[in-house]
């Protein structure tokens, strides 16, 4: 049995269907990326999972118990970090965490020890006596994450935690999340920075206009997004003067389109994107991409196209997202 099971979840606000028939599950020790554009229904779903809203229909089970019917039993198991992580500006980091530890019912030395261990884990110990108003955004976000960990929840729900953070703070957050997953916590994280999610998520759920379009391991969704036929993308750059660039690019485009396996060629400023695709159902060898690329490069060189850069690009979560969401929900 999964730690979290979401079954046919719907939330309507009058005529607006914010979430419709969403189902997915999440196991202990895994990170699920919840992906979708703004207004897709991510935050609404997360608020329902965090017991802050009730669904119009459907069920959410945490350790087999209904989150909707018994929020009091579920709250101790959930750590929720909303997209605006509010802090009390006139409290120090220690006072802030200590207050929430008290609110979670922790007492005496056990409470102090827990606050210390959370500050240690999130790297906040050197800042314990600093007012939260004096912290950087990245540090405030750590304080917020620390707050969600105080009661040692099994499920972490993080709504856009990386939003507005600098690259270094993002990398640090990623490491913290990996460490939490390694401890056996299930993490549901939403973001619209897809490259970031693809690096840390074991699986993802893609949602648009309230409907779940795809769910499963990232590799599986990537594979599915490639379609039935194996494909890859090649990016190449030309080295020439500005005056002759367009002419060279046109020549290259014509030449490329005449080659076998080339399905499309897109000219984008000084880059040419070439999509190579085997026929559906054909028996692809393990090195078909390498073979096709070698042949393509040879043709370009033979025809004196001034290629200065030639590289294949692996499909990522962004491609999968674009592929899955494109025109599916009108």
């Amino acid at each position: 049995m999964s730690l979290l099971e979401v079954r046919h979840l719907s939330r309507f606000y009058g005529a607006l269907r914010a979430v419709e028939d969403v189902s997915f599950s999440l196991d202990e020790g895994t990170i699920l990326g919840f992906i979708g554009p703004n207004g897709a229904g991510k935050s609404t779903t997360m608020r329902i999972l965090a017991t802050l809203d009730v669904p119009t229909a459907g069920e959410v089970l945490l350790e087999g118990k209904s989150v909707v019917e018994r929020p009091d039993l579920s709250r101790p198991l959930i750590g929720y970090m909303p997209d605006r992580y509010g802090t009390y500006d006139d409290m120090t980091v220690f006072e802030f965490l200590d207050f929430f530890a008290r609110a979670y019912g922790q007492k005496g030395k056990a409470r102090i020890d827990r606050v210390d261990s959370v500050m240690d884990f999130t790297g906040l110990m050197p800042l314990k006596d600093k007012l939260t108003s004096e912290l950087s955004k990245g540090m405030k976000q750590r304080v917020a994450l620390g707050r969600t960990l105080l009661h040692d929840p099994k499920l972490l729900i993080l709504d856009e935690p990386a939003d507005g953070l600098d690259p270094r703070a993002r990398i640090e957050l990623r490491e913290l999340l990996r460490a939490l997953a390694a401890q056996g916590k299930a993490v549901l994280i939403s973001s619209h920075i897809l490259t970031e999610l693809s690096e840390i998520c074991d699986s993802c759920a893609i949602i648009e206009q309230g409907k779940l379009l795809a769910t499963g391991p990232v590799s599986e969704i990537l594979h599915r997004s490639q379609g039935a036929a194996p494909s890859t993308e090649v990016q190449l750059k030309l080295f020439t003067t500005a005056e002759t660039l367009e002419d060279a690019a046109r020549r290259a485009e014509r030449l490329l389109l005449e080659q076998p396996l080339v399905k499309s060629v897109v000219l984008a400023q000084d880059v040419i994107r070439v999509r190579l695709e085997l026929d559906a159902g054909s028996n692809a060898s393990a090195v078909w991409v390498d073979e096709a690329c070698a042949r393509l490069l040879a043709v370009l060189v033979r025809e004196a196209i001034p290629v200065c850069s030639f590289q294949t690009r692996q499909l990522d979560l962004e491609d999968a997202f674009l592929h899955v969401t494109k025109g599916r929900v009108a």
Partner: protein, 486 residues
């Protein structure tokens, strides 16, 4: 992991003494919100500025009293009330306003969500807020206490007067803090927050001045030797009204902040019953003491006004209840959520109240038919307007019309139209208080009932007939909307 420099090592920590240990144990036992609020507010500039200002004012008053002590016999009384005014400025304005800001900031900064997730629950969070500001009031009062006692030694005031004035002031402070914290829970949007800010400032300003004047007046009254039972009944009723209204507002705020799966309706409904029936008891006691049947008429009209206003909030609850409430309470527990049960509860309280008043009226020897008309007629208007609001709001299929807020708006609109339009039409075609035109008018209709005595029985029957039909409609509509869990 950290990106900021590690500060220099701190000085060695002092070993906690017995007082520290006791303080820590106490802090573990009390509501964590109290600890948080006290921590926050004791370091604010507002607290220390007003604390110093109050002490300075008291010091100034003491000096003036000391200089003029020989000149008047009443110097103790005047000095006491001067201290009282200085203290009341903080207790009845600054602290309630700070309480409002504190609660509103929880919503503005979205820390409210974090508090709800801790499992404290809205009631404990609000109680924590309330307690912490009452404690702050006690801190101010303890600083002013030596000055208040000083006034006793100046002669002209006795200890009971001091004690009663302080007790009334404390009760009024609790009331104002409760109102402020409850109002702050309404501040969900920026627009409402801006409007509320001015409403709270204005209300607290007026409330502080009125409350202080009433307290001083009552304390003065108490000094007179001949105080009748009417005074005690009046004071007791006012005290009950203040405390129960504060509690009702508190429970309503807690209810507003609760999830549909939490037992949000129980508190406000229980308080509604207590306040309605408690008020009725106060009227009955006043009637027993005074013997005037006008008190019964006043009771009927007051109960009707209360049921129409507060009842509108109770009966306009969202439809149905969550499955867990159904499982725990069954469908017809009147304290469980749902418009259907709210409506039935209001009708039941109205029936009990009317029966009590009719019973009292039956004990009268010199009966006035106008009073009976009011006792029997006023509930009919309540039933009519409450039911009509529900029927109309539910009848319009567009979703926003089904919301509690819309039912309340329709109710207020109906009351405005029902009481304002018939007299206007009457002024054009016959007279403003025309009997036929105003038969369903909740204001002029009631005045006509009181005025016409035994000749108004037909009006009572007609109003009750219309009210009963509309009430049946409202009941059926609510019953249809009430989801039956299997």
């Amino acid at each position: 992991m950290t990106t900021e420099a590690i500060p220099a090592p701190a000085a060695p920590l002092r070993q906690p003494d017995a007082l520290d240990v006791f303080g820590e144990k106490l802090a573990d036992r009390i509501n964590p919100i109290v600890v948080k609020e006290l921590r926050q507010h004791l370091r604010t500039r507002t607290f220390w500025v007003f604390f110093s200002l109050m002490l300075l004012a008291c010091l100034g008053i003491s000096l003036v009293a000391f200089v003029t002590a020989e000149e008047s016999e009443k110097v103790g009384l005047v000095t006491f009330f001067a201290f009282y005014v200085a203290l009341s400025g903080v207790e009845h304005f600054v602290i309630p306003y700070t309480a409002y800001r504190s609660m509103a900031r929880e919503q503005e900064d979205e820390t409210w969500v974090l508090l709800s997730l801790t499992g404290l629950g809205p009631r404990r969070i609000l109680a924590g807020k309330l307690s912490s500001f009452i404690l702050q009031g006690a801190l101010y009062a303890s600083a002013a206490a030596p000055f208040l006692l000083f006034s006793y030694y100046l002669n002209g005031i006795d200890l009971p007067t001091i004690a009663i004035a302080i007790a009334l002031g404390a009760a009024f402070q609790v009331f104002l803090v409760s109102v402020s914290v409850s109002l702050a829970t309404l501040a969900e949007s920026k627009l409402v927050r801006s409007l509320l800010h001015f409403v709270v400032l204005g209300s607290l300003g007026i409330g502080a001045i009125t409350g202080t004047s009433i307290t001083i007046g009552l304390s003065e009254e108490l000094r007179k030797s001949s105080i009748g039972p009417e005074f005690w009944v009046g004071s007791g009723s006012a005290f009950f009204a203040m405390v129960s209204t504060a509690l009702l507002l508190f429970e309503s705020a807690a209810s507003r902040l609760s999830m549909p799966t939490e037992p949000y309706a129980r508190g406000p409904r229980a308080l509604f019953v207590v306040q309605a029936l408690g008020g009725l008891v106060a009227f009955v006691i006043a009637w027993v003491v005074d013997g005037d049947d006008d008190i019964l008429a006043g009771a009927a009209v007051s109960l009707a006004a209360y049921l129409a206003f507060v009842g509108l909030f109770i009966a306009s609850d969202r439809d149905s209840m969550a499955k867990n409430h159904w499982a725990a309470n069954g469908r017809f527990s009147l304290l469980a959520p749902g418009g259907l049960r709210g409506f039935v509860l209001v009708m039941l309280v109205m029936l009990i109240g009317t029966s009590v008043l009719v019973g009292c009226y039956g004990q009268e020897t010199n009966t006035d038919a106008g009073v009976l008309n009011l006792i029997v007629g006023a509930p009919a208007y309540v039933t009519l307007y409450l039911s009509a609001a529900i029927v109309i709001a539910r009848w319009i299929p567009h979703p926003p019309w089904q919301t509690p807020a819309m039912v309340r708006l329709v109710g207020l609109g109906l009351f405005t139209v029902g009481s304002g339009v018939p007299p206007l039409v009457g002024a054009v075609v016959s007279e403003g208080d025309d009997r036929s035109l105003n038969i369903l008018n909740p204001v002029v209709g009631l005045v006509n009932l009181a005025r016409d005595g035994s000749g108004a029985m037909v009006q009572v029957v007609v109003v009750w007939a219309v009210a009963a039909i509309v009430a049946l409609g409202a009941f059926l509509v609510l019953l249809k909307k009430d989801v039956r869990w299997t």
